[in-house]
């Protein structure tokens, strides 16, 4: 098929299901960066992220015919990426994440918030602080603030209830603010 910028993701998937390599190339170019960013946010490792990007794209190619249109193509694609990372970690013997947010305070102390605000725009400090968060916390912050996805979509990607997403985002922000405030206080 002759691929154009206006082709929808659904149309590209339909062509890919018929073995159209041009459509696959267009799909890759359209989604490569955002998928790589997501994998990097989850994995914190650029080499592993590049490897899994290849695996996710291969899976998209293999599964194109099975896309049922119940979710947006990007939600479906991030779901595949999430599963690939889970399998990757299982092979490495990593344990599944369990919610440990019960002991966290419900609000950020005002002083922490002010200090966090003063450094959050510093990309280098923010990156360093994000790296200290657990993978699920980094992941939800990425999906909310970079991908700008709704909590319901995030729930579908992660296969968790919307309430869990809500709580995870909230606690991820508290932990990030704490880390930023610590970074601000340390010389």
């Amino acid at each position: 098929m002759a691929v154009s910028e206006q082709d929808t993701d659904e149309r590209l998937l339909h062509a890919m299901a018929g073995g159209d390599m041009e459509a696959m190339t267009a799909f890759y170019r359209r989604h490569e960066t955002r998928l790589y960013r997501y994998l990097l946010a989850k994995l914190n490792d650029s080499f592993a992220a590049a490897d899994l990007l290849n695996e996710v794209m291969l899976e998209v190619w293999r599964s194109a015919a099975r896309f049922a249109g119940r979710a947006k193509v990007t939600t479906w694609m991030f779901g595949i990426a999430h599963n690939k990372v889970m399998s990757f970690w299982r092979k490495q013997g990593r344990r599944e994440f369990t919610e440990l947010d019960d002991n966290l305070p419900d609000d950020t102390p005002g002083a922490d918030l002010e200090q966090a605000l003063s450094v959050v725009k510093d990309g280098e400090v923010l990156r360093a602080c994000m790296r200290t968060l657990s993978e699920p916390h980094r992941e939800v912050l990425h999906l909310v603030f970079f991908e700008e996805l709704d909590y319901s979509e995030i729930g579908r990607i992660l296969k968790v209830p919307e309430g869990t997403v809500k709580s995870r985002v909230y606690h991820a922000k508290i932990l990030l603010k704490k880390q930023l405030a610590n970074a601000m206080r340390s010389p």
Binding site: L58, L117, H142
Partner: protein
């Protein structure tokens, strides 16, 4: 704050519906702590979206295309490893061969004449039992060599159009053991003993 957090995040990413946005901004005016939280969410969004990240780009695409080509060339991805028709074809070949012997008449050695069957290499053909074997399309020359040598056999005929080889074992060889050994290789599809 927990209850309003989702709204703050939607506000920060500019996706809060108009009426809710106005109501939230009204609350912010009355509550400076809420306004600072909203400011944090907006700053976080800005910083995350401005983070420079370069993916694998065209190199990644080349890698993907190579993976797709390899996947397309992998016959095991297209065909089941064990093809049901091969044993049937081998059995049919055996029947045809037996019928041919019966129709042609007495074996040449029975009327005193000789049969000239020897490998072009000049080696002697083992006089032991014969097997028929089919290798997987992905089997390499080294694989075939390993399998044949491991049962101390020799290829005496084949491959036929169906990919069937005839294997001669040494006189003292155990047919059952050889069949089992050969069947254990992943790249061997069928082994049929007489």
């Amino acid at each position: 704050m927990k209850e309003i957090d989702e709204q703050l995040n939607l506000w920060a990413t500019g996706r809060l519906p108009e009426a809710e946005r106005r109501a939230l901004e009204q609350k912010m005016e009355e509550d400076p702590a809420l306004a600072r939280e909203a400011e944090f969410a907006k700053a976080l969004k800005g910083s995350l979206q401005n983070e420079p990240v370069t993916g694998p780009g065209e190199l990644g695409l080349a890698r993907l295309q190579k993976s797709l080509r390899e996947e397309g060339e992998d016959p095991s991805a297209l065909l089941p490893r064990k093809n049901f028709w091969k044993p049937v074809a081998i059995a049919a070949s055996v029947i045809v061969a037996v019928q041919a012997v019966m129709l042609v008449g007495p074996a040449p050695w029975e009327d005193g004449s000789t049969v000239d069957m020897a490998p072009a290499s000049g080696e002697l053909v083992p006089q032991g039992p014969r097997l028929q074997i089919v290798f997987a399309p992905t089997a390499t020359m080294t694989d075939i060599q390993t399998a044949v040598l491991n049962v101390n056999g020799s290829i005496v005929a084949g491959p036929s159009a169906l990919g069937v080889f005839r294997l001669a074992l040494s006189e003292e060889a155990s047919t059952e053991a050889a069949v089992q050994t050969l069947r254990d290789y992943d790249f061997v599809e069928e082994v049929i003993a007489p």
